[in-house]
């Protein structure tokens, strides 16, 4: 049987798209999102002060992304429109992180299947609740898969290595300074140098704030927090290549066509 010229099987197309997206995402630096006692902390090494990787979507909802800036910026703007329209139409309390995660999932999934090029982004939608039990962290990958993360999430280049280090340091109900320390330790390769304060983008969703919970931490405030952190008990560098040392990892890898197949059931 002769193949039509230029034929590629759907499996091949999907695999190529997924590889392409993964490569794009892996080129960037990592971003870490984790719970602390008063809410959720976002930490992103980011040399730019104007092009944010972390931002506010709504009263209780924050957004973090890695990958191509123009692509996740579009997602961010769409998310803000979604949240503001819903909050205005119904009530401010009717805007939920879950709804936003579903919107992103359907948009990412559609682009992944319909477009020639999938988006090279990975995003986190985090929502702070009245209590730590009400907090939610959703991680979405380029193909529209949603992961309901517990406690922390890492994405971007070396996401798995970062997640491993994050898992080692993470405890429930950490004070902010400790959480920041854990995040920075996770973002720094063992023996590596930490990014200077000026190149860190740090923000929190603080449940104790009134009205809008999202707040950027920068300048003197961030320096004070970093100084308040317990002396960096540099964890003994986890030996071995982190990429191979995680056979039974809790967080499944981003699903490509060869991974878990999205069976069409609602992502959440």
């Amino acid at each position: 049987m002769s193949m039509p010229f230029g034929y590629a099987s759907p499996e091949q197309i999907m695999r190529d798209k997924a590889d392409y997206a993964r490569k794009g995402i892996a080129r960037g630096r990592s971003v870490v999102v984790l719970q602390y006692e008063d809410g959720i902390l976002f930490v992103a090494p980011n040399p730019s002060r104007a092009l944010h990787k972390v931002s506010e979507i709504y009263d209780r909802i924050g957004f973090a992304a890695v990958g191509r800036y123009n692509e996740f910026e579009e997602l961010r703007l769409g998310g803000i429109r979604y949240a503001d329209i819903n909050g205005y139409t119904y009530d401010r309390s009717d805007v939920t992180g879950r709804g936003l995660a579903n919107l992103y999932a359907s948009n990412l999934g559609r682009i992944f299947t319909e477009s020639i090029k999938s988006l090279e982004v990975e995003v986190v939608v985090a929502e702070v609740g009245d209590t730590p039990e009400g907090d939610a962290i959703y991680r979405l990958t380029f193909d529209g898969s949603v992961f309901d993360e517990h406690g922390f999430a890492a994405m971007g280049g070396q996401a798995e290595a970062v997640a491993t280090r994050l898992k080692e340091g993470y405890r429930e109900g950490m004070p902010l300074a400790d959480a920041l320390e854990v995040a920075l330790t996770a973002l720094t390769e063992p023996g590596g140098e930490r990014p200077p304060v000026g190149q860190l983008e740090v923000a929190v969703l603080d449940r104790n704030r009134e009205h809008r919970k999202f707040q950027r931490l920068a300048g003197p405030r961030l320096e004070r927090l970093l100084a308040a952190a317990p002396p960096a008990a540099t964890p003994p560098a986890a030996g071995g290549s982190p990429l191979e040392s995680e056979p039974g990892s809790d967080t499944p890898p981003p699903t490509g066509p060869e991974g878990d197949v999205d069976d069409g059931s609602p992502p959440l």
Binding site: A50, S55, L77, D84, I85, G87, Y88, R212
Partner: protein, 282 residues
């Protein structure tokens, strides 16, 4: 039939299209106009007298900020329709607005305006300048002119902390828009003439925030004294005026207990001198 307030079909697909504008009202106006307050409707009869009206709002600047206060009464004609209505709204971290006129239209305007400011701030990553905020509100009032001509008048008072000047600023409006920047203090609503008269005698340049709050509470009392649509402090029900202070630390609404402190102090003195503080003649 679905109410006009339901999200229109297909809107979700439009969220990711760049509209080239950071205005929430413009985006909704072009993609889902049904969500905005209906304009251009012609009412069979003016209903201005039948819907609750919000009354007196006062505001005054002090060294490093601005205070806005409002009474709690809403009236429909000669009826007091609500005793504890809230007419001073936080619009973002450094600004607030008070409404006089048709309560429902004003509340809706305040809600939309808050989203408008926040939407810009989130999309652009910067807050609007104080002038920008004041102008934006003027456009919204202008948009309501058609309804205002039919009796649904709403006129806000806008106050904001301006970081560039480290001070508060006050803007007033008329039914066709504005803004008109006011020096030192201003009042709107049915009791505003009395409140403004009182503030003229009570306002001092360089007052502290504490003294400014007291001056505003005094002026609201004077307004309630002479205007039937303005409510005085309701001692038996413990309903106090709403007082909001905006300074470099942002917007803060005083708690009921704090306001009660000021009111009690004032009432005690009014028992001796019912017309309030007496300004020196020379």
């Amino acid at each position: 039939m679905a109410s006009h307030r339901d999200l229109p079909v297909g809107l979700m697909d439009q969220l990711f299209h760049n509209t080239g504008s950071s205005s929430f009202t413009e985006f909704v106006g072009s993609r889902a106009p049904g969500l905005l307050p209906v304009r251009g409707e012609v009412l069979a009869t003016p209903i201005g007298d039948q819907v609750p009206h919000a009354t007196t709002i006062v505001a005054a600047t002090f060294a490093g900020g601005v205070v806005m206060a409002g009474d709690r009464r809403a009236t429909s004609g000669n009826i007091i329709s609500q005793r504890d209505v809230e007419k001073v709204f936080r619009t973002d971290d450094y600004s607030c607005m008070g409404i006089a006129g048709t309560a429902s239209t004003g509340i809706e305007m305040a809600r939309l305006y808050r989203v408008e400011l926040e939407h810009y701030e989130k999309l652009e990553g910067r807050t609007l300048s104080v002038n920008g905020k004041a102008n934006r509100l003027a456009a919204m009032i202008r948009g309501n002119l058609g309804m205002a001509m039919q009796g649904l008048v709403v006129v806000p008072l806008f106050a904001a902390y301006d970081a560039d000047r480290d001070g508060g600023r006050i803007f007033s409006y008329d039914v066709a828009g504005g803004p008109y920047e006011r020096d030192r203090f201003d009042a709107i609503g049915s009791g505003s003439i009395f409140a403004r008269g009182a503030l003229k005698k009570l306002y001092r340049d360089g007052m502290s925030a504490d003294d400014t709050v007291m001056a505003l509470i005094q002026s609201l009392y004077d307004a309630a004294d002479d205007d039937s649509a303005t409510g005085g402090p309701d001692v038996t029900r413990k309903i106090w005026p709403i007082v909001s202070v905006i300074d470099a630390d942002g917007f803060r609404r005083l708690s009921d207990d704090e306001v009660a402190g000021y009111v009690e102090q004032m009432l005690e003195l009014r028992l001796i001198s019912p017309d309030g503080p007496i300004a020196p003649l020379r």
